[in-house]
Symmetry: C2
Subunit: 342 residues, 2 copies
DNA sequence: TTGAAAGCGTTACCAA
DNA sequence: TTGGTAACGCTTTCAA
């Protein structure tokens, strides 16, 4: 028995028969730039509109061997930075005629199976916005022979196009900012220290701190990019040697750290201690936090990604492109100069 | 000239030739339950694994007239509740072999075009988790003749399956909670008062407040579900007649309200005023907020949605199914009894 | 259980 | 510019 669902929509052939033209003509009418007389196209499109015909995208995909779908590999949806990125990205992709097929991966378990789906669906490109889950070799397998872009993370050993914020610039900017405020005893809190993003931010900060002759009172790893990791590490630092300012590897950490310092350690921010983060998520601008942070150029990241996709510089076989985008330090009230301290 | 990208993967026909079986056999080997000798299947699958063959999902879609793709219509990604929902949903869909194709709609502009893409892609079902953007008629057009589920919102005039939290229960629970704490002068803050969700929460709360003989000191509409709307409305209430407790229509509003009351109105929460929200997003449990809130049964919503999808109770032509899921009041420290007030 | 062959609804070639 | 036709890579019938 044929278990296939009955078709409920018109085909090009049926439409053609109704109008009295060839099926090819219908196809051409819907293909921008196809060689067809304007009047014929108009006639077909008009008729199509009245009977509500739309070309079947699946058939088109099979024939054209293009899907106009990009697979988006995500995993850290708890950090508001990623939903914000995903939203912008999918919107821009839609604008140029692509839809986003979500691959929500979780560590362990059936990761392999989830990724093999990525192959079967024949997406035109893969965009990985999951910073942590995919190991190098896995990333390699996922993206080889396929257009692929890695966002917010840079790998050298896998040949994949990367678009990321200039973390070095960010780390330095925060160190400079602390210095200008007169803070001399500063600390760094990583999220996942082994990620490329984490390493870069830390190295840049630590290096600049040394260059400026400041003292690094702590340099610890929260173990994850979470609010609670921020709390825990902040309290650890507060219990240690006197620290004037803390740079957290991302905003979520910083928010947790701020709350803990204020409410559990009894410190005032910024009077007793300055706090800076990284990303500039929406919550950083909430008055309660007013977090000084290094803003990731979200729009730039998205538009650069889309541009690469269109230009094909992320196609397999191309030499690896690594795009570093400049961010900007957003100074709010969580940092202040020594002078304001009472 | 053929502008089609060259194929880079093996086809079933090629694989069949290599093994010396028919192409149908290959197809059957990959079809669970197909009538094929176990040994033959094993042989084929094994060989396929060595040469890294995977069936082309696009061709399969065309032939089977099923895509195993669900279209997910989203729009409010700023509210953390939605990314959390989207994440769980896409994960569960993946578990049963479906991928999620994102349709990120924004009000106005080319809404029509974005939605027509939804038709062309022939998704097996549409899940709408955008509470606000789609008007009734638009929703109608998007979902007619197609399996569809509306999450977190209930409409009566459009025949579409709905899965939502029991907002009535939630509104009443908060009123009861305030009452038990001894609060008698209470206020309500809506996000978008005209949404089904907003109406239900408000009506239930207001009705219960009247039943219990409490005083409704304010009943205002923030105009949107945002942190700033929460701040603004909270200050408005603080400036009005004495209020013991405020119920905000969702958590984001409540967080903004709490911060404004504490930091701008100089009130203590909960000592001077109790605050409750709705959803139970991750931030509600942050110690700084410790927000009492009515928790949406996220897991239940997702599993019920997936169940409907599998059972087909969301197919067109079915009588409309409306599933109301029970939530639970999570009491934290943003609400307290009068007795604790100093 | 197996293989051959006819679709699925397009696109792109080839003549006209 | 047009129409006819062969792909595209599968699934499912139909005979064997």
């Amino acid at each position: 028995m044929d278990t296939r669902p009955k078709r409920n929509s018109l085909t090009a052939r049926e439409l053609a028969r109704m109008i009295g033209v060839s099926q090819s003509a219908v196809s051409r009418a819907f293909t921008p730039g196809a060689s067809i007389a304007p009047e014929l196209r108009e006639k077909i499109l008009q008729y199509a509109a009245t009977v509500d015909y739309q070309p079947n995208a699946i058939a088109s995909m099979l024939s054209k061997r293009r899907t106009n779908i990009v697979g988006i590999v995500v995993s850290e949806m708890q950090n508001p930075f990623y939903p914000a990125l995903l939203e912008k990205l999918s919107q821009e992709l839609q604008r140029i005629g692509f839809q986003s097929l979500l691959f929500n991966i979780t560590a362990g378990a059936n990761l392999q199976e989830q990724l093999s789906a990525l192959r079967r669906y024949n997406v035109d490109a893969v965009i990985v916005i999951s910073a942590t889950v995919l190991s190098g070799p896995t990333l390699q397998r996922v993206t080889e022979g396929r257009a692929a872009i890695l966002i917010n993370r840079v790998v050298e050993d896998v040949s994949i196009a990367c678009v990321a914020c200039d973390n070095i610039e960010g780390g330095r900017a925060v160190a400079d900012h602390f210095y200008e405020l007169g803070q001399r005893r500063v600390a760094y809190v990583a999220g996942l220290a082994h990620t490329s993003t984490g390493r870069e931010r830390r190295n840049a900060f630590v290096t600049r701190v040394a260059e400026l002759g400041m003292t690094l009172t702590a340099n610890i790893d929260g173990g994850e990019y979470s609010y609670n990791a921020g709390r825990r590490t902040a309290l650890e630092i507060a219990a240690g040697s006197k620290t004037d300012a803390i740079f957290f590897a991302n905003d979520i950490l910083a928010l947790g750290g701020m709350d803990a310092l204020r409410e559990e350690a009894g410190l005032r921010v910024p009077e007793d201690i300055s706090i800076a983060g990284f990303d500039d998520i929406a919550m950083a601008s909430w008055p309660h936090y007013a977090l000084t942070t290094f803003r990731q150029p979200l729009d730039g990241i998205v538009s650069e990604t889309v541009r690469m996709l269109q230009e094909g510089s992320c196609q397999p076989g191309q030499t690896q492109v690594i795009r570093r985008l400049s961010g900007s330090l957003v100074v709010r009230e969580s940092t202040a100069s020594d002078a304001t301290r009472t």
